[in-house]
Amino acid sequence: MAGPADMPAATLTPPRDRPAASAGARALLEVRALSLSFATSDGDLNVIRDVSFSVAPGERVGIVGESGCGKTVTGLALLRLLPARSARLSGEIRFEGQDLATLPERQMRAVRGRDIAMIFQEPMSALDPVFTVGDQIGEAYRAHFPADRREARARAIAALAEVGIPAPERRCDDYPHQLSGGMRQRVMIAMALICRPKLLIADEPTTALDVTVQSQITDLLQRLSEATGTALLFITHDLGVVAETCTRMITMYAGEVVEDAPVDAALTRPGHPYTSGLLRSLPGLSARRGALPSIPGRVPSLLAMPPGCRFQPRCGHAAVNCASAQPLVERAPSHRVRCCRARELTLPGAVR
């Protein structure tokens, strides 16, 4: 494990050199064949299956998909934030060479918040209403580094300033209810980044916010990720946010990764019919007042997954081979698609 001992003071200095986020770089996070099921009274409920992807140091990766596709649960699984009693995890979560899937809980706690931090959709429910935001940010720091209250407070104020909160010395003593939604999400980001994690998992961080505030928050995340070299795993249903914030896009459908590609490639030449369908459904791409394309049918129930390709029942390009299990195939360098017809199909993307 790379030593956290050389932690710099709460300045804007990046704690490590900004790495080249290319496909060839050594992965920071490498997820291999991750599957997850929950034990329920109806039997085992398989929520994600054979999820594999990697994130390079400093890279910004978006995970997109509709509700129920398993993107949130994938994020939670990476940090093992799932109910231990019912969740069954298999596969590997290699983070800097160490497998988080089998790490003892005690060591896992040292990773959470220190090396990998997470922010959530609804900042109000993620903050404790009875402590000041300064206390909560300071606590995140003191959980991992020896510091007295005074130092923690100073670092909290610096962190609030870094995320663009005006008058941080005053705001530090505010309670969460005294802040607006956008301010609360900034507080969450300050708390997540105070230990200078190497990876930040952001689960729909802007969904509850207005569009003008959303753009402030995505700009902030992108800027901080570039300034500190923190890699970003951005979970969202908003393809526009991914296009503007990330460099790579992973599309999930029914608990599987169906496409993994550089953002521009996924937008212009999507390889999976589902990615293409999602992009074509966006109203901005159709003639004003014209009929909008949509994907027929709905996501299959977890209890009745179709065999073979899980998208096949809704797919306009389904063929005989789609009835058998689909591996992720390489369509182009660093562009993988879970579709046996990926190399032969030319699918429309976000460009009219």
């Binding site: 509709e66 509700s67 005006p166 008058a167 607006s180 939604g181 956008g182 301010m183 207005d210 569009v211 003008t212 505030v213 959303q214 753009s215 402030q216 995505t218 700009d219 249903h237 908003d238 393809l239 526009g240 946010v241 991914v242 296009a243 503007e244 953002v263 521009d264 937008l267 212009t268 369908g277 999602l278 992009l279 459904s281 966006l282 109203p283 901005g284 159709s286 003639a287 004003r288 007042r289 014209g290 009929a291 909008l292 394309p293 949509s294 994907i295 709905r298 976000a350 460009v351």
Partner: protein, 349 residues
């Protein structure tokens, strides 16, 4: 499918089906000491057969406005006319009869359906209340309405929890159709739905409009949705109207600095090489409607605010035919340009 112009759209500048006159809606705060100015003095018309899009951030008063349009909330001041008639003057049975023409579909398709009633019972309930026909004809009408919104026959006897979100929203639309309304206010009707089925529901709304000559007031925060379906767009901010005009003009050539910023904030799913528009980042967030800023409400976040904006409430000016804007400095060319030496920010953190 063929788009745009169609039968049931009278050119109608002189044909307002809903008229909003100097409307104010105030709510007392919980401690009773202050008032929330949810809607604070606005005027506009809804034309028969059109789709009027209302766009704004949360807290801009758009939901309150939508509810007031269908008499779910009484105006504090000013009035709303339905075809020249003020529904606030009606009582009892006359009021109930009148309201069937002015209906609303809500955002959350789950909350809008009674979990203990079957789908068919929910759909025919409005007709029962209106005493339309008898049990038998109501049942037939209910089944026809469900078929019209594209739901299979066997869903009629099911309960809401057995349906998907998109199906539930179709049920809510079927229920409204039972009354053959003239105006439907759609309050964030696709916000809770996934992208892949949003298109289907929006297409259904468009088909029904053509078929029944409906007038829609479409309230949403989603710019891409509103610009796709609307004939005209109203932009609201903190209880006031900022801009109103033909949809294409408002989206392509906005006149108000707020509209311009709102449009530029929308993330575009395009590859980096094709993303051109420069984002105007607004500072801060929408102020409290309890104590809105003096003068122009947008001035605390406006990148081109001037001293005059704090002193004087901008007039609701018609700059181009059918295109109004509430900004002192907008011209026919567009919003005011940034003047570097005259930066002015009044208050607000």
């Amino acid at each position: 499918m063929a788009a745009s112009v169609d039968i049931a759209r009278p050119s109608g500048i002189d044909d307002p089906i809903v008229t909003v006159e100097n409307l104010r809606i105030l709510f007392p705060t919980r401690d009773g000491k202050d008032t929330v100015k949810a809607v604070d003095g606005i005027d506009f018309d809804v034309r028969a057969g059109e789709t009027l899009g209302i766009i704004g951030e949360s807290g801009s008063g758009k939901t309150t406005l939508g509810r007031a349009l269908v008499s779910l909330i009484k105006p504090t001041e000013g009035r709303i006319l339905h075809r020249g008639l003020d529904p606030a003057t009606l009582t009892g049975a006359a009021f109930r009869r009148h309201r069937r023409d002015y209906q609303i579909v809500f955002q959350d398709p789950n909350a809008a359906l009674n979990p203990r009633m079957t789908i068919l019972d929910s759909v025919i309930e409005p007709a029962e209340i209106m005493k339309d026909g008898d049990d038998h004809t109501r049942r037939d009408a209910g089944l026809a309405a469900l078929a019209r919104v594209g739901l299979p026959r066997d869903l009629a006897e099911r309960y809401p929890h057995q349906l998907s979100g998109g199906q539930k929203q179709r049920v809510n639309i079927a229920r409204v159709l039972m009354l053959r309304p003239k105006v439907i206010v759609c309050d964030e009707v696709v916000a809770a739905l996934d992208v892949s089925i949003r298109g289907d529901i929006l297409n259904l709304f468009a088909d029904l409009q053509r078929e029944f000559g409906l007038t829609y007031v479409f309230i949403t925060h989603d710019i891409s949705v509103v610009s796709h379906i609307s004939d005209r767009i109203v932009v609201t901010y903190l209880g006031k109207l900022m801009e109103l005009g033909p949809a294409e003009a408002v989206v392509e050539r906005p006149l108000h600095p707020y509209t311009q910023a709102l449009l530029s904030a929308e993330p575009v799913p395009l590859p980096s090489a094709l993303r051109t528009s420069r984002r105007i980042v607004l500072e801060g967030e929408i102020p409290s409607p309890v104590a809105p800023p003096s003068g122009c409400r947008f001035r605390t976040r406006c990148p081109v605010a001037q001293p005059r904006c704090a002193a004087e409430v901008p007039a609701w000016r018609e700059i181009k035919p059918g295109h109004r804007v509430a900004c002192h400095f907008s011209t026919i060319e567009g919003p005011p340009q940034r003047v570097p030496n005259q930066q002015y920010h009044a208050g607000g953190e």
